[in-house]
């Protein structure tokens, strides 16, 4: 889903003519584990595409349902940021970097769609949506 394509014109000093850095970051519909209780944690996943020709960096996310939303690695440790090269896709997944949402104000129910904002150094704040999906059984 193309939420907010941006064209940011930046003259490059090294170039004899005018060149442009095209900032074009888009987000697919993602997913989030359903929950049965409030004030618990859940995890969110999404694919982010950098279709521009400049590097961008995901520096944070905020899902209004959660008291805090953090970028974490597969090991659960906090990540400061994630870099997306031009033409690349960043996948936030259960076995890689993803969103950790703590202290949920509401349950994430079957049929839910969570709006979350994603903050990028160049593209700014983009809105993404996470569709609820059943959580895997605990091992």
């Amino acid at each position: 889903m193309k939420l907010r394509p941006l064209l940011l014109a930046l003259p490059l000093l090294a170039s004899p003519g005018l060149a442009f850095a095209e900032i074009d970051v888009t987000l697919d519909h993602g997913s989030v584990w359903q929950t049965k209780k409030v004030n618990v944690r859940t995890e969110g996943f999404i694919q982010i595409h950098n279709k521009g020709n400049a590097v961008d960096v995901l520096t944070g996310a905020n899902c209004s349902i959660a008291g805090s939303t953090e970028l974490v690695g597969a090991d659960g440790k906090d990540l400061d940021s994630l870099t997306i090269q031009p033409g690349q896709t960043l996948t936030l997944s259960a076995d890689g970097p993803h969103l950790l949402m703590r202290h949920l104000s509401y349950t994430v129910d079957y049929g839910s769609i969570l709006p979350c904002s994603f903050t990028f150094q160049e593209a700014g704040d983009l809105l993404g949506y996470l569709n609820a999906t059943p959580a895997p059984a605990k091992k």
Partner: protein
């Protein structure tokens, strides 16, 4: 800042469409819960909503049901949901209220279905009388207040447009005879980004949510 908006099947639930549009027009950020409708009284809806109906909004301690009440609540947050001018605002509230309370024959004869083409169906004397009244409302409103743009009150898609958006959807699906002014207004509403987004949501719903009684009219 947490909020939760309970909605019915996007494909069918015209009231949910109105509530969703109001919430988005106001800029509220809410977890949206689409509860599949079962046709008639739905236990799943009764379980989440005080009135047993959708839409139902919970926002920062406020609990709001009924589309018009949601519209007014959203307008407290973003007053631009209603026209700024007092006379225009009064007219907008009047036609929104008429929509909320009326046009039962049209709603029965032409139930909202965003995924079908039922052109020519549902045309009864009673439903066509409702169509005529709606066309009169739209024409009068556009002539009086809508010169600056394609919507009822001009350039801004507001709460009155949101109230009538599911009527536009019905007109697209059932294609009753309409005047050119009405057709132009329908095209403008259908092209609005939020309306388009709602159609997208409906298109992505599971096929298992579809109800035979709404899918087999033709």
């Amino acid at each position: 800042m947490a909020a939760k908006l309970y909605l019915g099947t996007a494909r069918y639930s015209s009231w949910s469409m109105r509530g969703w549009l109001m919430v988005h027009l106001a800029g509220l950020v809410a977890e949206e819960v689409f509860v599949p409708l079962a046709g008639g009284n739905s236990p799943a809806v009764k379980a989440v909503s005080p009135s047993g109906t959708v839409p139902y909004l919970e926002h920062e301690g406020a609990r709001v049901w009924e589309s018009l009440a949601i519209a007014e609540y959203c307008a407290e947050i973003n007053p631009a949901l209603w026209p700024e001018d007092r006379i225009a605002r009064a007219h907008a509230r009047a036609i929104a209220s008429e929509m909320h309370a009326g046009f039962r024959n049209l709603r029965i004869a032409m139930p909202m279905n965003l995924g079908r083409d039922y052109a020519g169906l549902g045309q009864t004397p009673e439903s066509l009388a409702d169509v005529a009244r709606i066309e009169a409302i739209w024409t009068e409103t556009r002539e009086s207040f809508g010169a600056s743009g394609p919507y009822l009150f001009g350039a801004t898609f507001n709460a009155a447009d949101a109230m009538f958006a599911p009527i536009v959807a019905r007109f697209i699906t059932f294609a009753p005879p309409l005047g050119e002014t009405t057709k132009a207004y329908c095209a403008a509403v259908r092209a609005h980004p939020l309306v388009a987004k709602w159609y997208d949501l409906a298109a992505k719903e599971p096929v298992s949510w579809q109800l035979e009684k709404y899918e087999t009219l033709a």
